[in-house]
């Protein structure tokens, strides 16, 4: 049933147009056929969470193996499969889809005041590609030769059929086709939604930072993922059609794979990180009861990070001896600048605020500290001589886990705690949430700090066993203990979800005194999101509507922007007659 959605006028209380509400389909049919961005977003998040828990379980198995130098008897093949699938699930199937498939799908249309994503059926199609891609990757475990075992980067000669025969590797490649297309479709959808479905008054410079970050992320997806798909097509033809794109024997160039992969892979890191920066930037102002500090600077910083991130791919290849070190080193170091700007924006937002430490805010503070540590070690690794000393050691492992865990998990779960009331109309338990945070926080540092030391002592990554007597065992045990504490924290999370499911505490429409348009809708929102909209005169229309006396103090631009808050609809000027609306 196609709905010709009308823009709800300001202040209109109820809208009679939701005819489709009368015949709600059954659960399964709804799940299979829904093109509602909210349903799809929740589907994405649930699937991504399943992947997260599976992948985390694999990480625990690996940590157990590493707790003693000779391991616990896990075979090398199993270990190689585990870290390959751990990385692949986390990076391809959890971190990215949770953000741009789940959170963005749900939140972005609401923040711009749209009834749905621009292409609802394409959106549903993206989800099915993502789900089937995830299943495809996991199917590798059921094959006789096991899942892919060449690391999540699948460097070329090792991933060719001579060195990695068997269907597990093929399933891994096919899975990246499916999820890659899924990501591209979602990216297109997000860009179109943000460009074409904004509510009147929601100019680009009033987009909430989360939406800005998702726009930039979507552009990065469109730049990066096709390259990954191309790299995988080449790999597949090398494996099955006898081409020699990556094999020296046939005149191919193995380094080409690394170039292609990292041209995707480094933007991918920011595809994973930027949405979560956006999540943190949504949450910190709300709990500080202030507007985000340096809004425009923050947007430019985001764009700068994204732009620079596409010019630094070869900093993963410093030790290949085939790349231009100063170019990639300089651009990599320069990323520290906009990232620093973001830090100071976050601090400036908290500065002189009234910060209440509800669970989401607590997670955001954890994110700031974790990302600070990960970022500083990242600056070190951007320097080729230091990278020479630590490349492919646990130093790098600790670095990227601090960055990625810090962003995707700390900020990601901050987002989940933050928007869960909006999605389900019920609260998560704050005490359990804080218990989740503190166990995870302790486990996080206990897990990764010893890994820095291990790396500096020369322990390589991706090894199932290591020599005894080098003093590595105790540090590894500490890391394993930390990993289990993290595991415990996610059991607390499950308990929290269960409690909220069994004993719902109604959330109300705006439990946090939120800023964005999503808090103006009901919880959970009705089918096409809004029955009414507030006037949009800044990047936090809901706040302006609720606090007409606490508007942003404009500084240096557009003072007139804020005169109309609460004034409702201004008379039509005649200029914008809606002809360009989608």
């Amino acid at each position: 049933m196609t709905l010709l959605q009308h823009r709800p006028p300001a202040g209109a209380s109820d809208h009679p147009e939701h005819a489709e509400h009368h015949d709600e389909p059954t659960f399964v049919v709804k799940w299979l056929t829904s093109t509602d961005h909210k349903v799809i977003g929740i589907n994405y998040m649930i699937t991504a969470m399943v992947m997260f828990y599976l992948s985390g379980f694999m990480a625990l198995l690996m940590r157990v193996q590493l707790s003693s130098p000779s391991g616990i008897g896990m075979s090398l093949q199993t270990y190689n499969e585990l870290f390959t699938m751990h990385g692949s699930l986390m990076l391809y199937l959890f971190a990215g889809p949770f953000a741009f498939g789940g959170l963005a799908n749900y939140i972005v249309p609401m923040q711009v005041g749209a009834p749905d994503m621009a292409f609802p059926r394409l959106n549903a199609f993206s989800y099915w590609l993502y789900l089937t891609g995830s299943i495809t990757m996991l199917l590798g475990f059921l094959t006789s030769t096991g899942a892919a075992a060449f690391g999540w980067v699948a460097y070329a000669p090792l991933s060719t059929s001579a060195y990695s025969p068997g269907p597990g590797a093929d399933l891994w490649i096919i899975s990246l086709f499916l999820t890659g297309f899924s990501a591209v479709f979602t990216g297109v959808n997000l860009v179109a939604t943000i460009f074409y479905l904004r509510a009147p008054g929601m100019t680009m410079w009033r987009l909430p930072i989360f939406t800005w970050n998702m726009l930039v992320t979507a552009l990065l997806i469109l730049i990066a993922f096709p390259v990954l798909t191309a790299a995988m097509v080449f790999l597949w033809t090398d494996r099955h059609l006898g081409t020699h794109i990556y094999s020296v024997a046939g005149g191919g160039v193995p380094v080409l794979y690394q170039n292609l992969f990292w041209f995707f892979g480094h933007p991918e890191v920011y595809i994973l990180a930027l949405p979560y920066f956006g999540v943190a930037t949504e949450i910190i102002p709300v709990f500080s009861r202030k507007p985000v500090f340096g809004y425009k600077g923050l947007v430019f910083a985001t764009i700068a990070i994204a732009a620079l991130s596409t010019g630094v791919w070869a900093h993963h290849m410093f030790t290949t001896g085939t790349v231009l070190l100063p170019f990639f080193s300089l651009l990599s170091l320069l990323i520290a600048v906009p990232t620093g700007v973001k830090f100071f924006n976050w601090i400036g937002t908290m500065w002189r605020g009234q910060i209440s430490f509800k669970t989401p805010m607590l997670f955001c503070v954890g994110f700031l500290l974790a990302f600070l540590m990960g970022g500083l070690t990242g600056v070190m690794l951007a320097s080729p001589p230091i990278d020479f000393a630590t490349h492919d050691t646990y130093f790098v492992v600790a670095h990227f886990h601090q960055v990625l865990f810090g962003t995707t998990v700390f900020a990601g779960f901050a987002g989940l705690y933050f928007w869960y009331p909006k999605m389900f109309g019920r609260m998560l338990h704050d005490g359990l949430g804080k218990a989740h945070f503190w166990t995870m926080f302790v486990g996080f540092w206990l897990t990764y700090l010893p890994q820095y030391v291990l790396g500096l002592h020369g322990m390589p990554r991706r090894v199932a066993t290591y020599p005894a007597g080098l003093g590595w065992a105790s540090l590894n045990v500490a890391s394993t203990v930390g990993a289990f504490i993290i595991g415990l924290s996610f059991l607390i999370m499950l308990v929290n979800l269960w409690v909220s499911w069994r004993n719902p505490v109604p959330a109300g429409d705006n439990p946090w005194d939120g800023h964005g348009l999503e808090w103006f809708a009901s919880s959970p929102p009705v089918h096409h999101n809004f029955e009414k909209l507030p006037p949009i005169r800044s990047e936090r229309p809901t706040w302006d509507y609720n606090h007409p006396d606490a508007r942003t103090i404009a500084h240096g631009h557009g003072t007139a922007d804020y005169e109309l808050v609460g004034a409702g609809a201004r008379g039509a000027s005649g200029a914008g007659d809606g002809t360009t609306d989608a």
Binding site: Y163, G321, M373, A389, P460, T465
Partner: protein
């Protein structure tokens, strides 16, 4: 060759290259080394405690590199590694300063601006001078760091036109081969079983290494104080040539030849390992560097060079055993056999065939290694005297 085939069967007394004729002096060297600088990991734990109190105040120490705390890193046993260490330590200090300031601001905001009342905070959003300030300062920091980086990088990557010794390092699944191109000597080992190195590498190496596990795998013998040119290639997949105490790693890429120099500063035995995932036995692809004073190095070379009477022992047919050999061909006798046959492909296949009774801990190996090691025929073999 016979002795080669019996690497583990024969007494391992000759296993460590070099010190055979000068063993005592060698051991003395190692002892003095361990007194001079206790950088090995075994002693690191004690050092770590002493370093616990290091703070940002050590910035002036940047001038005197020797006084710098190690920040858990290695000071480096080559001149290149020492340059890298200075950059590392300086960067860590800068990072600590930046981290303390930023983290302090975060924690200060968190503590100071906790919600104490329902008063509405001032809704400010922009402060242009401040924003310019915190954009400009990181740019300056980063550019300074970039300057030091380029400076160090040029020194580390500098390749001397006249190296004293040239070694071609060939990585393969899952072992290493070191060809001393001009001396007609090579050392080759396939992967080493973890975690029992004794008996694979000989007791002398084990005894003089900082820990027994510092001398796993084949030994790359290098002279101290001379420029060594390493030419790094791979026979199959991507491997990582990594010597932690040299603060250096470089990929061995198929189809690419990488060249770099080491100027080893002190004699000793330095653990090393493949760092880039290269397949099933990646975790067991060890080697180690044996740094000897030039005289001992020369003696080792002489002692390792081809001896005509051993030329008939080559057994090419045993090459297929290489994949599951599970042992190290690294030994003085193995090295000595290098050019011994004086012809064609015999040496490498023989070395590869040096199977021992040690069984691999993992599943049965896959096929490729046999042919890989067979391909490692040294170019010098045919030109051997």
């Amino acid at each position: 060759m016979a002795s080669l085939l019996g690497v583990t069967a024969s007494p391992p007394s000759t296993s460590v290259p070099g010190p055979r004729d000068d063993g005592r002096g060698r051991r003395g060297t190692l002892q003095s080394r361990s007194h001079a600088h206790g950088d090995d990991v075994g002693r690191h734990a004690q050092r770590r405690r002493r370093l616990a109190g290091i703070g940002a105040a050590s910035l002036p120490l940047l001038l005197g590199g020797c006084q710098l705390p190690t920040f858990y890193g290695y000071r480096g046993q080559t001149s290149q590694a020492h340059d890298e260490f200075l950059l590392y330590a300086g960067t860590v200090i800068a990072a600590i300063v930046v981290g303390v300031i930023t983290g302090g601001l975060i924690l200060w905001s968190v503590v100071r601006y906790r919600r104490r009342s329902d008063a509405m905070p001032r809704q400010f959003q922009y402060h242009i001078p401040l924003e310019i300030f915190y954009t400009a300062v990181p740019i300056v920091i980063v550019l300074v760091l970039f300057g030091f980086t380029v400076f160090t990088e040029n020194k580390v990557d500098n390749v001397s036109p006249t190296p004293a010794v040239a070694v071609k390092v060939t990585a393969f699944q899952w072992g290493w081969r070191f060809d001393y191109t001009n001396q007609h000597v090579f050392v080759q080992g396939v992967r080493t079983d973890n975690p029992d190195p004794v008996g694979l590498n000989g007791n002398t190496c084990t005894a003089s290494a900082p820990t027994p596990n510092d001398c796993l795998g084949p030994g790359l013998v290098l002279p101290v104080g001379q420029t060594v040119r390493i030419t790094l290639v791979s026979n199959d997949v991507v491997h990582g040539f990594y010597v932690p105490q040299f603060n250096f790693s470089r990929y061995a890429l198929p189809g690419v030849t990488n060249r770099f120099d080491f100027n080893v500063a002190r004699s000793g035995i330095y653990r090393a390992q493949c760092t880039q995932l290269c397949g099933l036995y990646h975790a067991q692809m060890f080697f180690h560097v044996v740094a000897l004073p030039p005289a001992q190095f020369d003696a080792w070379v002489t002692g390792s060079q081809p001896q005509p009477d051993q030329s008939s022992v080559a057994q090419p047919g045993t090459a297929s055993a290489a994949g599951t050999a599970g042992t190290s061909g690294r030994s003085a006798s193995g090295a000595r056999s290098a050019g011994a046959s004086g012809s064609s492909a015999a040496p490498s296949s023989t070395v590869a065939g040096a199977s021992s009774g040690t069984t691999p801990t993992g599943p049965a190996s896959t096929a490729p290694p046999a042919s890989n090691s067979a391909r490692t025929t040294p170019s010098t073999a045919s030109t051997a005297p």
